[in-house]
């Protein structure tokens, strides 16, 4: 339990240190309504479709800094380049990456995911599949940060073939497809696929290990804005602060710069607190288990030593009768207790450490990571990374852990010595030898 608890604590620290500096900025109201909760599709049946997002027609660049008084009462539905510029200017901001998402259910590319039976009627309209059934829309993400697919809403994404796009291809008609989407449409690297009248070349195929994640594709941000007729619009910006301690201040400054009511600003700390809840729960459980195990061990040792002292009361009486002091007898019992406890600790550790990984896996239930799902793409992106980290809790037995266990065993032995010490002090030789 010490090992398991230590592994959970280490993993939580790792997650905090790895992902704790990101701040996600989206138009107000975007968080909590994800891809499937949002409005109509951006498909035009070959032509540029309607410019809708979140059910609201985008009237242009409604940043929180608009001079129009009406803008302050009706939050914007998208961010704009100038908003990104304001964020970039904030101190402690290291980088800002922008993404735009659109759902596509037009011709030429068919979703690999079928909607559930009795699905929420408020959900987006499914598309008519080639076989006559209904299918979900495909998530298309435009991003200016193609370096890491993990940042784009897919967890632990790995390219299975091809490559991702680079900065020089910000206007290129290239796409990286999810494995499920590629398989369903029988596409491979080098093939082309039409989206809203633009022919994209498939340059890479990735897998995220989830059906939803693999039912999406990624294109350069500017290309996406053009194809879906949303020039200059951004659905979210991911801001990196220089240190974890600056994250909260950066989030505050962003809210101030863009208008408190205009944007939702969520730090990864917040998201990860939710995402790592299973890990935290498991850590709490393992800590409780550790305390219970220590308590049980202490009780067992105390009773055992007490019992041993009682069974050896005659020996104690003899020793005292021939001139042994309480200290002598207690020391003898204490040394014996310590030797037994340390031996038991070593044997126990050697026999139970191999089981620690299984205990950890048992305590850590698989978290449901909403990749590209109900809690928004940004949430999904961070959650995806968190999920990946959660799944990799590795229980290793370090020398420190071993020494820690040993120290606890010796501590318990010392505490257990209190019982014989108290008992030995009470033994009157004449009494115990009289009733032998």
């Amino acid at each position: 339990m010490i090992t398991v608890n230590g592994a959970f604590a280490t993993r939580l620290d790792d997650i905090q240190s790895q992902v704790g500096t990101s701040v996600t900025v989206r138009p107000a109201g975007s968080f909590g309504g994800g891809f499937f909760e949002r409005g109509g599709d951006n498909n035009g049946g070959g032509a540029n479709g309607g410019n809708t997002n979140g059910g609201n027609t985008n009237g242009g660049n409604n940043s929180g800094t608009s001079a129009d008084p009406a803008a302050s009462t009706q939050p914007p539905t998208t961010l704009a380049d100038q908003d990104v510029n304001k964020v970039t200017a904030i101190s402690h901001v290291v980088s800002v990456s922008s993404q735009m998402t659109a759902r596509y259910s037009g011709t030429g590319l068919e979703s690999a995911v079928q909607p559930r039976q009795g699905a929420n009627p408020a959900a987006p309209a499914p598309q008519a599949g080639a076989g006559g059934g209904f299918r979900r829309a495909i998530l298309v993400t435009g991003t200016d940060d193609p370096a890491s697919l993990a940042a784009l809403g897919v967890q632990s994404a790995q390219l299975t073939s091809g490559r991702t796009f680079d900065a020089s291809e910000s206007n290129a008609d290239v796409a990286v497809l999810g494995q499920a989407l590629a398989d369903h449409n029988r596409l491979k690297v080098g093939d082309t696929v039409p989206i809203n009248g633009t022919t994209f070349q498939v340059i890479g195929i990735f897998t995220s290990g989830t059906q939803f994640g693999d039912n999406s594709l990624f294109v350069p941000l500017t290309t996406a804005q053009t194809v879906f007729n949303r020039p200059g619009e951004i659905d979210q910006a991911v801001v990196k602060a220089d240190t974890a301690s600056d994250v909260d201040q950066v989030a505050t400054d962003i809210r101030q710069a863009l208008g408190q009511g205009n944007v939702d600003v969520v730090t990864e700390q917040t998201i990860f607190q939710a995402i790592t809840a299973p890990l935290s729960d498991a850590k709490d459980s393992s800590r409780l288990g550790m305390i219970a195990a220590l308590g049980a061990s202490a009780v067992v040792i105390l009773f055992s030593i007490g019992l041993v002292a009682r069974q050896r009361v005659k020996e104690i009486g003899i020793l005292k009768a021939i001139g042994a002091s309480n200290w002598h007898v207690t020391a003898q019992l204490g040394v014996e207790t310590a030797v037994i406890s340390v031996t038991a600790a070593i044997l126990g550790a050697l026999s139970t450490f191999p089981l620690a990984q299984k205990v950890a896996n048992g305590l850590l239930s698989s978290p449901s990571t909403p990749t590209g799902g109900r809690r928004g793409q940004a949430f999904g992106a961070v959650a995806g990374r968190a999920g990946g980290l959660l799944g990799s809790v590795n229980v290793a037995v370090s020398p420190e852990i071993f020494l820690y266990a040993l120290a606890i065993a010796i501590g318990l032995a010392l505490i257990a010595t209190v019982v014989p010490a108290w008992y030995v002090g009470r033994v009157r030789p004449a009494e115990v030898l009289r009733y032998e």
């Binding site: 005659k314 020996e315 005292k320 009768a321 021939i322 001139g323 030789p429 030898l433 009289r434 032998e436």
Partner: protein, 236 residues
Amino acid sequence: MNEQTEANNGYIAVANDLVKHFQSGPSRVRAVNGVSFRIPSGRIVAVRGASGCGKSTLLNLIGALDKPDSGELRVDGVDVPRLTGAPEVAYRRRKVGFVFQQFNLISHLSALENVKLPMELEGDSKRASDEVASALLRQVGLADELHRRRPAKLSGGEQQRVAIARALANNPPIILADEPTANLDSKTGRLIIDLLQALRRDDRTVIIATHDVEVAAKADAILEMSDGQIVSRSGG
């Protein structure tokens, strides 16, 4: 005779009106009821009486294994009832050696280790205690090949010899023997009494609690006890 004994006018043990009660269920039993005696140094004294007359309790009081409820007891100049803590431990280690009816050897130690134990408690070196313990075991007649045996591998007589050797380990002036022959056959019992008698040669005082008339007959003096009281005295 040492200075302390001289201070007690040649008596190594002097008791005045010793009383010791025991709680036995709801009733309070007077195990030792106003006992007074004077025991000269270098004698064998038998405390004789039926089982339960209080003789073992009297030996426990002399050996500081128990405390009297009232009365005075001085042994080799030491005010025994007032002993507590380190002086009490030192008294048990240096002034008296106990020989029990049940031998009371430490079962997981060898005969030699049992005899060494009081010396090790006293802080003697391993080598010195080894030599003295071996010599004592030879003195009480235990063959060398038995020195490394544990008590369970020794006969009753051999165990009692080991117990006597242990009692002599720190060379105490008084040996207290509580029914030392009760668990032995008569022949072995006689050998043990002869052994205890031999200790007198070193000006050592031996107090033997016994119900055996034959054993008591070999003592220099006899204190006859009944119902916690000394009812008669005989001999020197």
